[in-house]
Amino acid sequence: MREELIISGRMNPMIDPQLNIWHWHIPLYLFLGGLAAGILFFAALYTIRGEEKLYPAAVKKAPFITPFILVIGLLALLLDLNNKPYFWQLYTTLRLESPMSWGAWTLMVVTPISFIWCALNIREIFPSFDWRYGWLKWLEAFFTRYKVAMSWVLLIFSVILGIYTGILFSAFNARPLWNTSILGPLFLASGLSTGAAYIMLVSRSHTERAAFSKIDIVIIGIELFLIVHMFMGFLASTQVQIEAAGLFLGGPYTAVFWVFVVFLGMILPALLEVLELRKYRVPVLIPSLLVLGGGLVFRFVIAYAGQASRWLY
């Protein structure tokens, strides 16, 4: 029997548009947070390995952008709140069940470290910079002394910052598209990839660029594997997840996802990076900007498509 299914009734124009509660603020923050996590991860990693000289852009130059993008990201998050004057309630409790809660605390660890990191490297930009006051000089000496310890903290918390946004989304079983544990690793990989791309962009050293090209190719490979793996999981799952995957397989997000995220944001830059390593002349600007743009579009697509996916009843 051919069956028509008509659902009417819940016509509540004031509520239903509100169900897409998260607008541009959230994906913008997801991108900036992931980018900062990626940059700081490499900065901490090469400090711990004592390779500051080999990777000067990763350790010293690239992290200068992180306090700015973290603050912009935090402002975006604040703007997104409906009850803005109450934002401090986040810091009156720690709820491990809620990724947003421990994510907020993670930001409270990473953001100050990003400022300290820049302060310690300020002479990279202003060689004759002087802290002027004795206690500031004491603080500088203190953090310089414990730089490796701080790097370990940063290494761990930058991974948490990169992965928690994906875990936050995947914890919503009401939005079948997000309800996959692949999303955490995928967001982390995307953050590391955009971080590597930014480091390539600002690096002046050929060996450093080549190293980050290789790193980026590997991470993009991991991302592509995770994406395929995610769709295999969806298609082998329940009807709601099959329909969620359908948003990208013929649905409204198909073109933007496969063209802008997968091809232009992953496959093409990876190919260009391979060509560059094979000694072809590829301006570094192109693969770097493609990866960064792809990372941004990826967060927007996932945030919007996820809110469009739902249970059917």
Binding site: Q18, I21, R95, N173, R310
Partner: protein
Amino acid sequence: MRYAMVIDTDKCVGCSDCVVACQTENKVPVGYARDWVVEVTKGTYPHLQMELRSERCNQCENAPCVRCCPTGSSHYSAGGIVLVKPRRCIGCGACITSCPYDARFPHPKGYVDKCTFCDHRIKEGNKPACVEVCPTRCMYFGNIDDPASEVSRLLRQRRYKTLIPEAGTKPHLYFLT
């Protein structure tokens, strides 16, 4: 004690009196609603089947909104009712996104609002406003932990369903079919 609502879909005529009663009782801002009526029509004309459901928050026992709330504003209250503490709510929207029933909305004052099972009326021994006004008396409210209650009796005697139990939320709105 566990409060639950039982709604007889055979008796409901979809008049939306429950919606208006709730808006009046709870001073819900104009245009918003904590409950709504869904009309599902199946089949091909002229062989049609229709179901009317007065829906609201399912007061889940395993509530995703309570789990994801970063401040603990969403919480379980007496009788398993899920409530929002407006002064703890930052309006982040995580609970709105987490609800498979789409039962929550941002109140214009900033916090997130939803059905409370009219806990202020229950405390005084009254029924929720929607149950009280229903002209076909298709809605029942009570304690399902008490085998002698009207809701327990109905769930023993009639066939019923809950909405997307496979979401793992353990909902407490029961629809008699």
